[in-house]
């Protein structure tokens, strides 16, 4: 852990060397996230509500998903570019070092510019919190924190799956984007609006709804069931198959030879 913080500080320092580049890149991410939020605003000022969710309630949802995604993006960057690491042989170097593989991938790349989305989403969250009509009790604050942290973990798991596919194909697979970037993009609305089939898929197979839709119902007081409050924790189970998949890929890995 101490070593990880050392890496963390190192990455931060090196990325801060080019301050204007850093700022411009962050700005780019903020604009990107801003476009998503503007889209939501346009739709909800026109339609007033969707499935009974008002503007600020949807924005609450949008910002939580964006924050979770952004945290995962910062720390799982190593997995995101994993196909390149395999291709150029950098991964082989990691294999011979006396440290955990996952640790090394994590520590090798941390990208702080990806916090742009987080910053923008946090601002939206601050706007939505008082307006959403949520009666904030300690339980609900815990729920909100769980949504963001466990959400980050689920996105993190998806990045691991993305990386694991590279063991088999060497190339990155674009279709995972529908779950990672698509998860953020479509997570701007509560997942229930996409209908029962999509909701079931996002509950039992890729548990994006477990940290978004169900706890949101609890926050908004639509249900008192505390199971809904703890649903984000259940989503963590998803990390087990992700890790197993990564292990399976690693076991059959032969170097690309470069």
């Amino acid at each position: 852990m101490k070593l990880y913080f050392k890496y963390f500080a190192l990455h931060l320092k090196s990325q801060m060397q080019y301050k204007i580049t850093f700022a411009l890149n962050i700005l780019g991410r903020i604009v990107m996230s801003f476009a998503t939020v503007t889209g939501v605003l346009f739709m909800l000022t026109r339609f007033h509500e969707v499935d009974g969710f008002t503007v600020s309630q949807v924005l609450l949802c949008t910002s939580v998903v964006s924050m979770a995604f952004s945290v995962a993006e910062v720390f799982a960057r190593g997995f995101d570019i994993f196909p390149q690491l395999l291709g150029n042989g950098e991964f082989d170097r990691a294999l011979v070092r006396p440290r955990g593989i996952i640790f090394q991938i994590l520590a090798s790349h941390i990208e702080f510019i990806r916090l742009g989305i987080f910053m923008q989403a946090a601002a939206v969250l601050c706007y939505a919190i008082p307006k959403s009509g949520v009666n904030w009790t300690p339980n609900k604050i815990v729920t909100l924190v769980l949504m963001i942290t466990c959400g980050a973990a689920v996105f993190f798991g998806l990045y691991i799956v993305y990386a694991s596919f590279a063991f088999f194909t060497t190339e990155g697979l674009e279709f995972m984007n529908i779950l990672t970037h698509g998860g953020r993009e479509f997570g701007r609305y509560p997942f229930a609006i996409y209908g029962g089939g999509v909701l079931k898929f996002l509950t039992y197979i890729v548990p994006l709804a477990l940290f978004q839709y169900y706890p949101l119902l609890y926050l908004l007081g639509r249900t008192q069931n505390s199971f809904y409050m703890l649903a984000p924790i259940l989503a963590l189970v998803f990390l087990i198959p992700c890790y197993a998949f990564f292990r399976a890929g690693l076991r059959r890995y032969k170097s690309t030879g470069s």
Binding site: L27, V31, T38, G39, E174, G195
Partner: protein, 265 residues
């Protein structure tokens, strides 16, 4: 002209090689289109009267958008132009007896067309046989279809000259900050939401910007949201912006090349 045509052909055939990547992209785009339509249908259910276009028009809009994404997207093409500027390899390009602006233009167009060729057919095929509420419709008549084709070609050229401006910014920044370029173009061209969904006063302005001459125009003409003389006027707007950005781009290129210094090595 012949040299540019062969350049186009080389790039086009080159692009056709990546079939597995195309297949992976295909599934993504298909799922993406599906989710878009599901989201819009939730809003439609909430308040059909507030829906600014017919639902079937929206469905066609989304599928054509996904099928021809590569033609109209303002990102992800022509990366080696920027690389050439930053790495200094541009001197090789300058040594060739070929206008560099035109060269980049045709290369980018070739990339777009080859990618779209690989991807459009399967998406369109599936979109035509889906259950009725998700099914794509044909344009109402042949005239509308031909308007769509003209508009699609113009939109592709407009977005390409726009991208060339973005590449050329690398002459000044030595790096690529295209995020803002890209997102602006994507959003204001109706990539996230079709322009009819924008609030009224804002929409009036957006309809006149160069971004409205990008994917917005062909997609809405195909779906029948813009028809008759409006379609002709729309294509006029596209040609106007194409001319403006082309002239500006050529001028900028000349100016940038004049002050470019490449260090040897």
């Amino acid at each position: 002209m012949k040299q540019y045509f062969s350049l186009f052909r080389i790039r086009f055939i080159n692009g056709l090689q990546y079939r597995a990547a195309a297949f992976a992209g295909l599934t993504t785009q298909f799922a993406w289109g599906f989710m878009e339509i599901l989201a819009f249908s939730a809003f439609y259910r909430a308040n059909p009267a507030a829906f600014p276009m017919e639902f079937s028009q929206l469905v066609s809009y989304v599928w054509i958008q996904q099928a021809f994404l590569a033609l109209f997207m303002p990102w992800g093409v022509g990366g080696n132009a920027v690389e050439a500027i930053v790495s200094g390899n541009i001197v090789y390009d300058l040594a060739r007896p070929m206008d560099i602006y035109n060269r980049w233009f045709f290369e980018t167009i070739a990339d777009r067309v080859s990618r779209a060729t690989l991807r459009c057919a399967p998406i369109l095929m599936v979109a035509f046989i889906l259950p009725p509420s998700f099914r794509m419709a044909l344009p109402s008549n042949l005239w509308q279809l031909s308007m769509f084709l003209i508009s699609a070609v113009s939109a592709m050229c407009v977005v390409t000259v726009y991208c060339l401006l973005d590449y050329m910014s690398a002459f000044y920044t030595m790096s690529r900050y295209s995020a803002i370029f890209v997102i602006l173009a994507d959003f204001l061209a109706g990539g996230v939401l079709p322009i009819p969904f924008f609030p009224a006063p804002f929409r009036k302005v957006v309809e006149l910007l160069p971004f409205a001459a990008m994917q917005n125009m062909p997609l809405r003409i195909y779906s029948g949201n813009i028809s008759g003389t409006d379609a002709v006027r729309g294509i006029g707007l596209q040609l106007f912006w194409l001319a403006v950005m082309l002239i500006f781009g050529k001028w900028l290129m000349k100016r940038s090349l004049k002050r470019t210094v490449t260090q040897g090595g």
